[in-house]
């Protein structure tokens, strides 16, 4: 009986840790840890305004994509 208790405890705690590790590895892969000073410095400027900025940049990107697609639609082969 008690073997199962130990197996469960070790298993669950390691699995929990592994989840954290996976999250960290994902962070490294996507370049979130490339800039060590950002952790300390950028956190101070992190407010609603920055969020709006990020949305604005996202919209800019979308607008350009849309424009490109429209250009493609307009383009008619001259045959």
């Amino acid at each position: 009986m008690s073997e199962n208790v130990i197996i469960t405890m070790i298993g669950i705690s390691t699995l929990l840790g592994a989840t954290g590790l996976a999250a960290l590895l994902w962070g490294v892969k996507t370049g979130q840890f490339d800039d060590q000073s950002k952790f300390i410095d950028a956190a101070r400027f992190d407010n609603e305004e920055e969020l709006r900025d990020a949305v604005m940049m996202e919209e800019k990107r979308k607008a350009r994509k849309k424009k490109k697609e429209e250009e493609k639609k307009k383009y008619m082969p001259a045959d």
Binding site: I10, D34, D35, D41, R44, D53, R61, R64
Partner: protein, 806 residues
């Protein structure tokens, strides 16, 4: 009059000289038009919260310049720096100049985000490098650069594919591997504690099995993912027929791993999964630190290359054209504007002017050049328009040579550790052979395969990690911490060992033996004069000589107000003149005085500065670059240790010899160019010398990179610090002596430790071979031997420094 800070850049100036704007609720002060412009721009854009974020940080005053914007839209520029995405977007990597704090990064990102057409803009907080992606249909690069300049910063491009991408990739890779290794070994540790507790108090086999399997699961990714670098290194070593440190780590870890699996399955003996994970983790962290320092060096190199111009103004048939530096041919006539950096070596054909050669010779004084003089790349044209003929193409020019030498030295630096690695390589080969023989003999004579295998592996386990592994790092760790307490920063532990073996010390003159700033050594007054006038005149110039005399005047206890001088003229390499309430003030060198018809007398070996009011000589100052305090004693002490000291300098023979004589150096090499210094170091290395080089400037960087141990002064150029191995924070020559003593004492301890652990191994390994070593004895003797090594290393702390410094 009150000193007030500029509203934009926070530098304080006298209220009377500032541009003042009065508003009902506030008063604004600006030091210059540039700052004023930036402030109003930010205010109208709603970005003035920048100043709340900035706090008290001081910025450079904003200087508006827009003279070379057109070059950013040239085809050659585009090919070199701009990357085109598949969807037609353009990407460039920029280094942003003028960033002082995180608020600056915030402002730049913000402004770029608001610029129409910019799709992405991210700036790295650590190295101020930016990545900008934009839509070429909507905006041009020159416009983006102009935007950055309009808020008081400057951006110049660099090519990340050269070094940075690779360095970044390695850094990321190591980071992931370390995360896995740390995770694995930390979890194995707490399981191992249960294991050890069970070892002494008794544990049923069924529980042991659970713990064994858990450790096995955790150790496997550590060995094969994190430890992959060692397998790779061992493989390359095998291909080149070298047994290296990687071979030792890889083979030790793999054997312990295989043995542990065997012990786990057969339920006999102890598992060593914890040591497998620990070995990999520790050695990996050490390697990661090396990768980090390399990354830092790459960053500084990029900023040197980025700040060099990519185009020059060529004069062809009396017309000016901008062409890429690569296309310049021998004999082409190039025009230099004030403030421009020279990229191609040549000879002056028209005009004259002074040049800042400090990055080449280390001398802060400007050099005056006229027709027929050679111009070296890397120097900066200070005050006038000069035309010159190219005598070399870009790849033959000095600046290019320096940069490529540095680049090379960052990727492969001569290292003595490689030899140390080889020795431990031999050791590991011998141990592997012994283990193999033991196993073979026990199997052949004993006939029991399992028993033979356990004994064979226990030979490796008892010999491999502990005492020998700890011998060097423990002693050097203690050495490094003592050095750090005395403001000597060793960047890596192994440098202590290398430095201890050195018998040749090469010193740069300016900035290393001397302070690099001229100061007044004698003053002669010919006629009574108002010192405030002299101070005011000197305040108009930022030349090191002006600064030196000004400092001298100020230390005599007087305070000087600011006088509104008129008709101020600065004649580079000659002197200053100005008018004050009808009085004519002239200050400068002998030649300048003669030009103004003022009779002067005598000569001196020092630099002379004369001051005259209304054509009457008032006073004379003798200036000389002062030798650092304690330089003579320090050099004498170093020589007493049996180390040869030589001086390498870019300065002239006479002044070099004078300084050398004053501090007691016999061998002097003067008038050396940066690569000649490096060539000297290399020549000595080929003679078998281990060279320690101390210097502070860009002109020393190549020689520093070439030397076995490079010592940089804490206030030196960034590039000098980044290629160096040791940094002296207090810049005292005495610290060089201390560094030598600490490294020699540490090396002694390393030798003692190695001797002890070898002794331990010669006793323990035969015992293990004979089959007397049970896991309990192995564990006990291992920790005991480690304790001896640690204790001996602690003895380094007893080193005495005679001269207790304040």
């Amino acid at each position: 009059m009150a000193q007030v800070p500029c509203t934009h850049c926070n530098l304080t100036f006298d209220e009377s000289v500032m541009i003042t704007e009065e508003y009902p609720d506030k008063t604004l002060h600006f030091c210059c038009k540039g700052c004023q412009g930036v402030y109003h721009l930010l205010e109208s854009e709603g970005l003035d919260t920048f100043y709340d974020k900035l706090g008290d940080t001081k910025l450079q005053p904003a200087v508006q310049k827009s003279d070379d914007l057109e070059k950013f839209d040239l085809e050659g520029f585009k090919n070199k720096y701009i990357k085109e995405h598949d969807d037609g977007l353009y990407e460039i990597n920029l280094i942003i100049e003028g960033i002082h704090c995180s608020a600056c990064v915030w402002l730049n990102e913000k402004v770029l985000h608001k610029t129409p057409g910019v799709i992405e803009a991210t700036i790295n907080y650590t190295n101020n490098k930016a990545k900008v992606v934009w839509d070429p249909d909507e905006i041009q690069l020159s416009k983006i650069i102009e935007t950055i300049r309009s808020i008081g910063y400057n951006g110049y491009p660099y090519d990340p594919t050269l070094q940075e991408e690779r360095a970044n990739k390695t850094k990321k890779e190591y980071y992931s591997r370390i995360l896995v290794a740390v995770f694995g070994s930390m979890n194995i540790m707490w399981i191992a504690i249960a294991h050890y507790a069970g070892y002494f108090s008794g544990m049923e086999q069924r529980f042991k099995d659970i713990l064994n399997v858990a450790e096995f699961i955790l150790a496997t990714p550590v060995l094969f993912y994190s430890g992959w670098v060692f397998f790779r290194g061992a493989y390359y070593g095998y291909k080149n027929r070298i047994v290296n440190m990687d071979t030792l780590v890889a083979s030790g870890a793999v054997l312990a791993y295989i043995y542990s699996i065997y012990a786990m399955i057969t339920q006999r003996g102890e598992v060593y999964f914890d040591s497998v994970a620990m070995i990999i983790t520790f050695v990996l962290v050490g390697k990661y630190l090396e990768v980090l320092s390399k990354k830092h060096a790459v960053d500084t190199l990029d900023s040197i290359m980025g700040s060099t111009p990519t185009e020059v103004t060529l004069i062809q048939n009396n017309e000016k054209t901008l062409i890429a530096v690569e296309n310049v041919q021998l004999g082409d006539i190039i025009e230099l504007k004030p403030g421009e950096k020279v990229v191609i070596d040549g000879i002056v054909t028209h005009g004259e002017g002074s040049f800042d050669e400090s990055s080449l010779t280390g001398e802060s004084e400007a050099v005056f050049k006229h027709k027929g003089d050679t111009i070296l790349s890397g120097s900066i044209c200070l005050d006038s328009v000069v035309r010159y003929e190219a005598t070399k193409d870009v790849s033959g020019s000095l600046l290019h040579a320096i940069v490529s030498l540095l680049e090379e030295s960052i990727t492969k630096k001569p290292r003595i550790e490689q030899l140390a690695d080889q020795i431990s390589g031999y050791f590991s080969t011998v141990i592997l052979l012994i283990a193999l023989l033991t196993f073979g003999a026990w199997w052949y004579f004993g006939g029991d395969f399992e028993h033979a295998l356990i004994i064979g592996i226990s030979v490796i386990v008892i010999a491999c990690p502990c005492a020998l592994g700890l011998a060097t790092p423990m002693a050097t760790l203690v050495g490094i911490s003592i050095a750090a307490k005395r403001n000597i920063l060793f960047k890596e532990a192994t440098f202590l060992e290398t430095m201890a073996k050195s018998n040749l010390l090469a010193l740069d003159k300016t900035g290393t033996i001397t302070e690099g700033k001229p100061s007044v050594v004698a003053e002669k007054v010919y006629a009574d004069y108002d010192r405030t006038l002299l101070h005011a005149l000197l305040a108009t110039s930022n030349h090191p000589i002006s600064n030196g005399i000004r400092k001298h005047l100020e230390t005599e206890g007087e305070t000087f107000g600011l006088l509104p001088l008129e008709a101020i003229k600065t004649i580079q390499a000659k002197g200053l003149e100005a008018q004050y309430q009808g009085k004519q003030l002239v200050g400068g060198n002998a030649l300048f005085m003669q030009e103004h018809g003022i009779a002067i007398e005598e000569k001196s070996e020092h630099t002379l500065f004369y001051f005259a009011v209304d054509g009457v000589l008032a006073s004379r100052f003798e200036l000389s670059d002062t030798i650092r305090e304690g330089a003579k004693e320090a050099i004498a002490n170093i020589q007493r240790m049996g180390i040869k000291v030589v001086m390498l300098t870019g300065d002239h023979e006479a002044s070099a010899h004078r300084i050398a004589k004053a501090v007691g150096i016999e061998e002097v090499h003067a008038q050396l160019l940066p690569q000649e210094k490096a060539a000297y170091v290399k020549a000595q290395q080929e003679k078998g010398e281990i060279v320690v080089m101390a210097g502070d400037g860009i002109n020393d960087a190549v020689a520093l990179a070439q030397s076995n141990i490079a010592i940089a002064m804490g206030n030196g150029a960034d590039v000098a610090i980044s290629v160096s191995d040791v940094v002296l924070m207090d810049e005292s020559p005495q610290s060089i002596h201390d560094a030598y003593r600490i490294s020699r004492r540490t090396f002694l301890a390393v030798k003692e430790n190695l001797g002890f652990s070898l002794l331990y191994n010669t006793v323990a390994v035969p015992l293990a071979m004979a089959g007397y070593v049970t896991p309990l004895i192995a564990a006990l003797s291992m920790s005991l031997s480690s304790l001896v090594v640690v204790g001996n290393s602690m003895r380094i702390k007893m080193i005495k420094f005679k001269e207790a410094r304040r």
